[in-house]
């Protein structure tokens, strides 16, 4: 900087030796610099996207055995089923509590579970299923508290690892979190082989700590949990696992979303219906009257039919597995059979959808929704 000179205004121009004051800045110079900075920034973003895509698709998979990767199996299976089908949406309580094959037997129409992990966000499963909902389909949602604005992008990305089509079809709401999630994918793919090599003992210990139920091996090709879950809940219910049906937890935004989804299904010629998830009876804090009041409230709020008696979904200890909303195998059979009966009674018998139970495979005729 040149020597400072004081001029009449009292302002010293650091750059002009005569102390004269320049009027304003150099607009062109500024624009040029801004343009260059923007070019560098944008190119870096593009480069980052390329690095991410390369890591996502080309580097060896890391999450192929993970629990959440079942979402790919479920999605592929959902895509393949052409005929009218039952789709059960939700999160892990659906994975643990619904046996798709048994449902298929009971209803005589294909059934697909779509949902696995609460951390991925309930909304994700709704969004991803939309494209594959067709005429005559029955979409069942065991309603539970959910934030329909939340997408667990980091978990979603690990679940759909390597699948470019699923990446590109991420719902717009989930794209926001991709930057944070994508970075973890890139770095983990870079460092994980090194980590495994450097700390084989730690790796083994970490692997041995994972409940085998939370791996992809627990599922069949359709993404239905097939691992035998014989143990049942024996402990008293911890305070943090206690549940409560509380209307305050079901925002108007949530209800509006469900009603919109119902309208969407109707447009597609499908039926959307609500049920309740399985919960260990001891874990529910509501009295019977409160449960009835909640059920009444819900039926008033939603346009979709609620097909199950809320009391029927409270399960005894013997049918609950490792969490108060997770059924063991007998529990899942019980719940699935009950749900099938509810669908028959509330959907088929009320002529929302007609069906021919004795015929295997595609059996639903034209759907009609009042």
């Amino acid at each position: 900087m040149s020597e400072r000179v004081e001029n009449q205004t009292g302002i010293r121009d650091s750059s002009k030796p005569d102390g004269s004051v320049t009027a304003g800045g150099n607009g062109r110079g500024m624009l040029k610099l801004a343009f260059r900075a923007a070019c560098v920034g944008l190119t870096a973003l593009v480069l980052y996207a390329c690095v991410f895509l390369a890591a996502f698709c080309l580097l060896p998979p890391l999450y192929q055995d993970s629990y959440q990767s079942v979402v790919v199996r479920q999605y592929d299976s959902l895509k393949e089923i052409q005929e009218p089908k039952v789709i059960v949406l939700g999160t892990s309580y659906v994975t643990f509590s619904v046996d798709a094959d048994l449902m298929e037997q009971k209803l005589g129409m294909p059934c697909q579970i779509f949902g696995c992990h609460l951390g991925m966000g309930t909304r994700y499963f709704f969004d991803m299923s939309e494209e594959w909902i067709g005429e005559g389909d029955i979409v069942v949602y065991p309603i539970w508290e959910a934030d329909m604005n939340y997408y667990g992008t980091e978990l979603i990305l690990t679940g759909i690892e390597g699948r470019m089509d699923l990446l590109l079809s991420l719902p717009p709401g989930a794209v926001k979190g991709v930057l944070a999630g994508s970075r973890d994918i890139i770095t983990k793919k870079l460092y994980e082989p090194l980590r495994r090599g450097l700390f084989p003992g730690e790796r083994e210990r970490a692997d041995s700590g994972v409940d085998p139920i939370y791996t992809i091996d627990s599922f069949d090709e359709k993404g239905t949990m097939k691992a035998l879950r014989q143990e049942s809940w024996t402990e008293p219910v911890p305070e943090e696992q206690k549940k409560r049906y509380d209307t305050a937890a079901y925002s108007q935004e949530y209800i509006a979303f469900l009603n919109e989804f119902d309208a969407f299904c109707r447009e597609r010629g499908a039926v959307f219906c609500l049920t309740y998830p399985t919960i260990l009876d001891e874990a529910v804090e509501n009295s019977e009257e409160e449960l009835e009041a909640f059920d009444r409230w819900l039926r008033e709020q939603v346009t979709a039919p609620v097909i199950t008696d809320i009391r029927d979904t409270l399960m005894p200890k013997e049918e609950i597995y490792n969490g108060v909303m997770h059924c063991n195998t007998p529990g899942a059979e019980h719940y699935t059979s009950m749900l099938a009966e509810d669908i028959k009674r509330e959907i088929f018998d009320k002529s929302y959808v007609s069906f021919e139970p004795d015929t295997a495979g595609a059996s639903c005729s034209e759907g009609s929704y009042r």
């Binding site: 900087m1 400072r4 205004t9 302002i11 010293r12 121009d13 650091s14 750059s15 002009k16 004051v21 320049t22 009027a23 304003g24 800045g25 150099n26 607009g27 110079g29 500024m30 040029k32 610099l33 260059r36 900075a37 070019c39 560098v40 920034g41 190119t43 870096a44 973003l45 480069l47 980052y48 690095v51 926001k176 979190g177 930057l179 944070a180 970075r183 973890d184 890139i186 770095t187 983990k188 870079l190 460092y191 090194l194 980590r195 450097l198 700390f199 003992g201 730690e202 790796r203 210990r205 970490a206």
Partner: protein, 528 residues
């Protein structure tokens, strides 16, 4: 508004745009408005504290300046006829008056600082002391929310008043201009503690848009972001994991915790400084250089000449030297010389002065014994023991035929300095002095590698990213220490090479940095 938050960069783009678009006459008012907005963003109530400091120090400095002027005028009016004694009498009279204004500024500002930061600590200690003798002294322990940057701007403003009282320069008459000096947004939160003559030159000057300067500032700021996001915050995860459960990691784990924290602290603090310096440069304003490759220091004394330089300089100029020159210390020196002899007596006096200096430096960091020990008394101990034992080390070195300028010996000294500093920083980062002692005990207890391996395994991702960053940082630091300007080197590349370099650097931040939709983590020195 943190420097690595999106809102700060949007704010900065807006301010730069306005700054260079308006007439130069309005450039510094734009900066003042931006600085006020920046501070107000932390909360409306917060602005009271810096405004109090600004008004009190501005007013005191004006009175002191006027007083100094009157003194000079009177001496000048007396001309050559004035006897020396008469001159001294005039000076003494005016200095007495000047001292009143100076004390007003000191008491007001240090009082506020003390009340906000140290009153609770003092009350707690007095209560504790009484409890030791089974006496009851239930002094109320107040804990206030500290205004951001309190210690930094208070020291900057006090330095200004003291300099004016010493007659080093004339006070700034324009309140708004002075307010800008204290509140200038890139430096108010964490320094550097600026000096008025250095800043005044560029702070109020008209600046034409200089693409080279702005781009240079931007590059420096991005480098600071790299240090913060890639090294400090990533390393911070592993450091937090260690300090959060340190008892599980004996032996090498404790050594790792101390060393990793020092690197984190450096990357965090110097990263902030780089951003502050870069942002200031974008406005054509130069800030004080606060770090000079401290890890190349061969002794703790040298380390502190390269680490947080502005704070060290401030304490040296405004605390240490005045203390040594004070009548109290002169008396102490006399007594020491009488007891220990001339040479040792002088050394003892100096070391006692250094003890006070380091005590204050430690206390500046925070109202807690852990800070007083970590950044104060342990550092004092290192420096004094280094000086006292210097002849012994010299003899050992000569006995072993080690050349002082041998490369490996320099490396050894650097590593030794780093380890000593890291040891002290265990106190800094630990939640209490008691925890730090436990860590030290664990440091020397055999714990095996297994628990530490678990820590590394759990935090491998963060450490991996930090390691990539540290490698880059090491190369840059080596180059800087050899006097090579990295920015100039990059400047010699052709346009496309430069473009590729900047793009790769930015991509590296995106890939290895810590950021996301959650709130950005704070800078460590933010709390002071």
């Amino acid at each position: 508004m943190l420097f690595h938050s999106v809102e700060f960069w949007l704010f900065l783009i807006l301010v730069i745009g306005i700054y260079y678009a308006v007439s130069p006459f309005f450039q510094w008012p734009v900066l003042l408005a931006a600085s006020l907005f920046f501070y107000l963003y932390a909360g409306w109530g917060m602005l009271f504290y810096p405004l109090f400091t600004v008004l009190l120090t501005y007013w005191s400095a004006l009175r002191i300046g006027a007083n100094n002027r009157r003194m000079k005028e009177q001496i000048r009016a007396g001309g050559r006829e004035l006897q020396r004694e008469q001159k001294q009498a005039i000076q003494a009279r005016y200095r007495r008056i000047g001292r009143v204004w100076l004390y007003a500024a000191l008491v007001g500002n240090i009082g506020l600082l003390f009340l906000m930061k140290y009153a609770g600590f003092l009350a707690e200690n007095i209560n504790g002391l009484f409890a030791l003798f089974s006496l009851e002294a239930a002094l109320p322990v107040f804990r206030f929310t500290l205004p951001v940057g309190l210690s930094f701007y208070t020291f900057q403003a006090l330095g200004y008043v003291i300099d004016v009282s010493r007659g080093l320069y004339e006070p700034q008459k324009n309140l708004a201009k002075y307010a800008l000096f204290v509140l200038f947004f890139p430096q108010i939160l964490q320094g550097p503690v600026g000096r008025y003559p250095q800043m005044e030159r560029s702070l109020y000057a008209a600046h034409r848009f200089d693409a080279g300067e702005v781009a240079g500032g931007l590059k420096l700021a991005v480098w600071g972001l790299f240090k913060k996001l890639v090294i400090a915050d990533q390393l911070g995860r592993a450091v937090d994991a260690y300090f959060g459960n340190f008892e599980a990691y004996p032996g090498i784990g404790a050594a790792f915790g101390g060393c990793a924290f020092v690197v984190q602290l450096y990357a965090d603090f110097s990263g902030y400084m780089d951003i502050a310096e870069g942002v200031s440069q974008m406005f054509g304003i130069r800030l004080f250089k606060n770090f000079r490759n401290p890890f190349f220091s061969r002794s703790i004394q040298e380390f502190w000449q390269r680490w947080h330089i502005s704070l060290g300089e401030w304490f040296k100029d405004y605390v240490f030297y005045p203390l040594l020159k004070s009548p109290l210390w002169a008396g102490l020196g006399k007594e020491c010389r009488r007891i220990f002899g001339k040479k040792t007596g002088k050394e003892v006096t100096t070391y006692a002065g250094m003890f006070c200096l380091w005590f204050f430096i430690g206390a500046w960091h925070g109202a807690d014994w852990k800070f007083i020990l970590a950044s104060g008394l342990i550092q004092w101990f290192y420096i004094v023991s280094g000086k006292v034992l210097q002849p012994v080390w010299e003899r050992i070195r000569r006995g072993l035929h080690i050349r002082e300028d041998a490369g490996w010996f320099s490396c050894f000294q650097m590593v030794r300095t780093f380890c000593l500093f890291s040891f002290a920083m265990l106190f800094f980062r630990a939640s209490s002095v008691g925890d730090a002692w436990k860590m030290i005990r664990l440091l020397v207890s055999p714990g095996g590698f297994e628990p530490f391996a678990g820590l590394l395994y759990e935090n491998f991702g963060a450490l991996f990213c930090a390691f990539v960053g540290i490698c880059v940082l090491a190369v840059v630091e080596v180059m800087q220490n050899r006097g090579i300007s990295v920015r100039e080197r990059i400047g010699t590349l052709n346009r496309w090479q430069r473009f590729a370099f900047y793009t790769a650097a930015l991509t590296a931040i995106l890939v290895f940095g810590t950021y996301g939709i959650t709130d950005p983590s704070q800078f460590i020195y933010f709390q002071f």
